[in-house]
């Protein structure tokens, strides 16, 4: 059977092509264009080849920011995912407390990011902040403007406060999809609390956890506003993550070429890591199925 061919159909996708071109492709290509050129102002550009990329990949500044970024994403994933699962498990399954819990959980997600930063910036201050002042009264020397560890603590705690809710809500949705019969069967089978979690709840949360990990990884890897408001990347460079460094380079120093090269590398890293996460986590499920399938075909 012949498929009908009508080249006029291309016109139907034209609006989308234009939209995507103006919103994504052309800006991205501008960045690519900057990344291979140099300028001394006056809108005059010179071909620089891969020089900026070469510089970037050998720069200690970039390596340090990248390492900080990995450390930050790793820490918040290790904290937020288990904490989110635990809270979701502890949430009520029915009754009037359900909407109460859900709304309370959603609140941090509704606050604008720079407001979150401001809240914690004030909260942690030793002179007027409730947290900083209380810690000072208790004899703890907490100062996030001068101590790198303190700065990290406040930024990590802030991110956990801000984003654990997302993990909770996703996990809770996964848990809600488990029919009562599963819990009843588990009771009849004499399963303990751990077995119920390991063999019923965790497998059912597998998909939403994949989404939670991906979202939290991507967001945390691109984090900018909150640490910028709280610490401005300091003290020193101790909380200068990739995005903060990038903005410093592009807007602070106006090094367009190096900043463009860094943007592209940054973009590729996120793309690559997200792809790895996704493949690993979906294959963890598919592998099992494939193995079961293979076992079936053996007579």
């Amino acid at each position: 059977m012949d498929k009908p061919v009508n080249q006029k159909a291309w016109f139907l996708v034209l609006p989308v092509v234009l939209l995507v071109a103006f919103s994504a492709v052309i800006p991205l290509m501008t960045v690519v264009n900057y990344s291979v050129q140099d300028t001394f102002g006056n809108n005059e550009f010179f071909w620089a080849g891969l020089e900026w990329f070469d510089d970037l990949l050998h720069s200690d500044r970039f390596h340090e920011a990248l390492w900080r970024q990995f450390l930050f994403s790793g820490i918040i994933l290790l904290l937020e995912i288990p904490l989110g699962i635990a809270i979701a498990l502890a949430m009520p399954r029915r009754g009037w407390t359900v909407p109460l819990c859900l709304v309370t959980m959603s609140l941090p997600l509704l606050i604008p990011w720079n407001a979150v930063g401001t809240i914690w910036q004030v909260f942690g201050r030793g002179d007027i902040g409730l947290l900083g002042h209380t810690l000072g009264q208790l004899g703890v020397d907490f100062n996030y403007t001068s101590d790198a560890l303190d700065a990290w603590i406040i930024i990590v705690v802030m991110d956990v406060w801000h984003w654990t809710s997302l993990v909770v809500l996703l996990c809770y949705a996964g848990l809600r999809s488990i029919p009562d019969a599963f819990y009843q069967a588990a009771r009849i089978d004499g399963a303990g609390r751990w077995a119920v979690f390991r063999y019923i709840q965790l497998p059912k949360m597998h998909r939403v956890l994949l989404i939670a990990v991906l979202l939290r990884f991507m967001d945390s890897f691109m984090i900018y506003t909150e640490p910028f408001v709280v610490t401005g990347g300091g003290p020193g460079n101790s909380t200068t993550f990739l995005s903060i460094d990038l903005v410093k380079m592009a807007i602070g120093q106006f090094d367009l070429g190096p900043a463009a090269a860094m943007s592209l590398v940054y973009f590729l890293i996120i793309l690559l890591l997200s792809w790895i996460f996704y493949t690993v986590m979906t294959n963890a499920g598919r592998d099992r199925k494939a193995r079961a399938h293979a076992a079936e075909s053996i007579p």
């Binding site: 009843q184 069967a185 009771r187 009849i188 019923i200 497998p203």
Partner: protein
């Protein structure tokens, strides 16, 4: 296997039940004989699942006791009651293999490894699951999954009873038949006490020795399939069992004479002192209505449908609709016919419940 006794059992999901309408399960005394195959039949929401969950301990009854072999287990936790239950939707542990699924209840009870393996193999053989033992359970078909759910009950030697909560709902029709036959064979071989909840009368009648019919939280009749058919104790039973269901005709009854659909009918028995103001109805199964007679009650023929081995005639007796089952080769000519009711199968119901008259 144990005898299960229910004593003064009742359940309301609300904390302070005010009247009978608040009870999901009304007061009930009942004994399930050890080794019996019972079906609990009734429409959705009639309390069958509640009753089942009370027996397995998933629901704590508001009143009354549950006894296993004379021992009160009302307060005992589910896992200590040694009950197996198969649910409407197959419950399997997705990440485990079939063998691990079957071993799960035994592992939770801390049995030695060698014994677990032996029992799993034995149970798999009983259910024809041996070939799939190493497979992941999640890739299997619904009927295989349901067999695994059943297997997790059978694998335990100490099971007091196996409860089924509409287990064949999600199974393909031809497999349903196979699975039901297999269940019956297992029951014959191993003599389990089985309680089988369903809203499908064919399933109930073909599976059980004793059928318990529930309606609005009450057991309205318990008996063999024949008893339910021949002498429904409640108009609901008559209507629910049989296809088409029993004809229920509002009537005025005076002694042995009934006024029904504007005509007079001689009853086979005498009914005295019927309560005034009560709902009086005559019940007659379509199978026991004869049509196309020379004399009898006058009825109008609305429609005759041929359903294969017999025909169903939709008649009206005055303003009352009435079904009659006709032999396959019978023709009803014209719009009018004369009908008669088989006196041995004509019953009288007062407010829905059967009343025995006196012989004439």
């Amino acid at each position: 296997m144990a005898e299960i006794q229910l004593r003064g059992l009742a359940h309301a999901y609300r904390p302070n039940p005010q009247g009978p309408q608040d009870y999901a399960l009304k007061r009930l005394d009942h004994t399930w004989r050890s080794g019996g195959a019972y079906a609990l039949l009734g429409p959705s929401g009639c309390g069958k699942t509640t009753l089942l969950n009370i027996i397995s301990g998933l629901v704590m009854p508001s009143q009354g006791q549950v006894l296993f072999d004379g021992q009160d287990v009302t307060q005992l936790a589910t896992e200590k009651r040694n009950i197996a239950q198969v649910f409407q939707f197959p419950v399997i542990y997705d990440t485990m293999t079939v063998a691990e699924n079957l071993a799960f209840p035994l592992r939770n009870r801390g049995l030695p490894r060698a014994e677990i393996e032996a029992r799993v193999r034995e149970t798999a053989a009983m259910l024809d699951l041996t070939a799939t033992l190493g497979d992941k359970a999640r890739g299997l078909t619904a009927d295989a999954k349901q067999k695994i759910s059943l297997g997790r009950g059978l694998v335990r030697r100490d099971v007091n009873a196996i409860l089924f909560d509409e287990p064949l709902t999600v199974i393909d029709p031809q497999l349903k038949w196979q699975l039901r036959t297999q269940l019956k064979q297992l029951h014959k071989r191993f003599d389990f006490t089985m309680i089988y909840v369903t809203h499908d009368q064919t399933e109930a009648l073909s599976f059980a020795d004793q059928v318990v019919v529930m309606y609005e939280g009450e057991v309205v009749q318990m008996g063999t399939p024949e008893e339910l058919f021949e002498r429904p104790a409640h108009t609901f039973v008559g209507y629910f069992i049989g296809s088409p269901g029993m004809n229920v005709l509002p009537a005025q009854v005076e002694g042995a004479v009934a006024q029904v659909g504007g005509q007079q009918l001689q009853l086979p028995r005498v009914y005295r002192d019927l309560p005034a103001g009560a709902r009086i109805e005559l019940g007659i199964r379509p199978e026991f209505v004869q049509a196309g007679l020379a004399e009898g009650l006058a009825a109008r023929v609305e429609r005759v449908s041929d359903i294969g081995r017999y025909k169903v005639a939709k008649l009206s007796l005055g303003a009352l609709p009435l079904n009659a089952v006709l032999p396959e080769d019978m023709q009803l000519d014209g719009d009018e016919t004369r009908i008669a009711f088989d006196p041995a199968h004509l019953h009288l119901y007062v407010d829905g419940r059967i009343v025995s008259g006196e012989g004439r």
